[in-house]
Amino acid sequence: MSAMAFPPWAVWLMLLGLAAFAGMIALSIRRNRGIRRTLFAFPYGLWIVVFTLIPLLLIGYYAFTDRSGAFTLDNFRTFWDSNFEMRKQMLDMGFDPADLGIARGNVNMDTLIYSLWMAFLCTLICLAMGYPAALFMADRNFKLGSTLVVLFIIPMWMNFLLRTIAWMSLLEDNGLINTLLGALGLPRMQLMYNSRAVLLGMVYNYLPFMVFPIYNALSKQDPKLSEAAMDLGANAALTFFKVTLPLSLPGVISGITMVFMPSVTTFFIPRVLGGGNTEMFGDLIERTFLSADNWNLGSALSLIMMVLILLSLTTLRKFDPEGEGGTMI
């Protein structure tokens, strides 16, 4: 397995990092007070710079340059108008693109809007399905609750590509569901290759991310609080809406974040279950990079994606300023 041998530059890189670390430790042994503990974070700091910050800067660099490396905003113009390049060339050649009937191309924008809409629907469905599940499991009288939560995690151990592909065998024209329908004498349905199938795949994959944080928030809640509400005269429904639900909001926010973010950038699921006519933004980015080989546009699209996600995150954080929402673990 020759591909697994560490290339020599890697050895040098590691040695350099280690030498820097050792140097810092040596420098810090101040008057026999031992090493400073803060230095333990040094290798990680170096790691972040090399493997997180520089790559991000590279995306920024490619997004604002053209193939020759000159500064340009054309990548963002192309995002807004996918025909931008073509129209520019025509203008250069002396044609008026409007005369030729070439209008603004809205493929990229439409894909973004479609992705956001799908992610929104997915989050909404996950919330509607996941909240009751979390609520029932967090019930203190339900002894199996904590065991069931584990059952929600286990499916995630199966490779997610395979799980998604497994849905194909259920949804196909000759798949299990249609076979069952046929056996019952019901008409067969076109279940695959549409937005609904993609949505199903997304909900299937991301549902556990909604259930955990909500379950965490609910099970941490002091049962005395709802008892107090009942004691003060609130009935079960009122107790839920006035006490339990508001107190579980951090978990809900965290769940929404954890579902929405990967949903927007989903790629692969639309390809398998959507059959190619339901391209989402993740697929668009991948295709732009690897098939169209246009890193500049791809970087611009990635940048737009990140800005959108950061915006939605900061908006969501406003509802949960403490950041107390239970995370997955």
Binding site: R31, N32, R33, G34
Partner: protein, 365 residues
């Protein structure tokens, strides 16, 4: 007893965090076998002072001497002092025995010596059969004893205690106060004790160091500090007190609330403004026209041993403790004997009378 050698010397210690000064000009010596208490409200710098002695913080300026040796730059693990931490800081992954044995193991003592010493310590703190127990299964009081045993087993010359009883309830606390005092006398170790509880300080200490805002306010025996507070702050912090603006007419005569009172203080000059301190239990209630002052009883509270009455006399409001109750609204006379009047240099206006000693929560340094 005053002739014991000085063990610890703090010289001109000051400490800043990010440009904020938390300790200024601390000069303090501690003699061998003394029980010294650093007393003050939260944020006064008492814990920081202790941590500087322990070696966990370094003074921005100044020196720490131990037995004449400069230990300012010595790390904690090379100092012959041990600490009982706030909230104990027992190691949760070790059992009681292993916790106490920690220091001896670090010092690579032989196994049977460790066993002998740990058993002895367990006996000293009355937890003989608890060695195998996990520290988390113990009550607060027991954890406290383990923390003390863990520090004492290393036979330190000085034991530092940082609000060690802060987390215990009142009854347990009083028990532990006596027990700590007993241990200190038995073992003959210097104790440096940090607390914000003036009662604790008065009960246990040989010397009290009152601190405020990073400065030492007064150093003295409990009796000195209680009876002869050097400032209104000390007077207020240690016990309750009435502090009245007055004027020194001449030596041994002071005027306040429009009346002249003989006193025993001298050296403040003639017609000089002063603060007059009278403890609530030192004000005597006398028939209306026999006292030098007259007042109306505003409120009465039963406090168990005594009644606490608020009595208005002119513009002044006095707090008086007495075993005899006067009905609310009645007019009474007030008097005080010369010995119970304490004269102090006047303090800035903010802290006048009736501020109760700030019994704030422990410092979060």
């Amino acid at each position: 007893m005053q002739e014991r050698p000085r063990l610890i010397n703090l010289e001109n210690i000051s400490k800043e965090y990010d440009g904020v000064r938390v300790l200024s000009d601390i000069n303090l010596y501690i003699r061998k076998n003394e029980f010294v208490t650093l007393l003050g409200p939260s944020g006064c710098g008492k814990t920081t002072t202790l941590r500087i002695i322990g070696g966990f913080e370094r003074a921005t300026t100044g020196r720490v001497l131990f037995d004449g040796q400069d230990i300012t730059d010595l790390p904690p693990y090379k100092r012959k002092v041990n600490t009982v931490f706030q909230k104990y800081a027992l190691f949760p992954h070790l059992n009681v025995y292993e916790n106490i044995a920690f220091g001896l193991k670090v010092a690579k003592r032989p196994r049977d010596e460790i066993r002998r010493k740990v058993e002895k310590m367990l006996a000293l703190v009355n937890l003989r059969s608890y060695g195998k127990r996990s520290v988390e299964s113990l009550s607060g009081g027991q954890q406290q004893r383990i923390a003390i045993a863990r520090a004492l087993v290393n036979e330190p010359e000085v034991l530092l205690l940082d609000e060690p009883l802060g987390a215990l309830d009142l009854k347990l606390r009083q028990e532990m106060q006596l027990e700590l005092k007993r241990m200190q006398q038995m073992l003959g170790i210097t104790f440096i004790y940090v607390t914000h509880d003036q009662e604790e300080a008065l009960t246990m200490s040989d010397i009290i160091v009152v601190m405020k805002d990073g400065y030492i306010q007064q150093i003295g025996t409990p009796k000195d500090v209680y009876d002869e507070p050097k400032s209104a702050f000390v007077a207020n912090f240690i016990g309750q007190s009435n502090i009245i603006r007055g004027e020194m007419v001449h030596d041994c005569l002071v005027n306040f609330c429009g009346a002249d009172f003989p006193c025993v203080d001298k050296g403040f000059g003639s017609n000089a403004p002063v603060d007059v301190l009278i403890r609530p239990e030192d004000l005597q209630i006398v028939p209306e026209d026999e006292g030098r002052l007259k007042g109306i009883v505003r409120s009465v509270l039963f406090k168990g041993v005594h009644y606490e009455m608020i009595i208005d006399s002119g513009a002044m409001r006095f707090k008086v403790h007495s075993t005899v109750m006067q009905p609310e609204g009645s007019t009474v006379g007030l008097d005080v004997i010369p010995f119970n009047i304490h004269i102090m240099k006047p303090m800035p206006k903010e802290e006048t009378q009736f501020e109760e000693a700030t019994q704030s929560e422990e410092e979060t340094a």
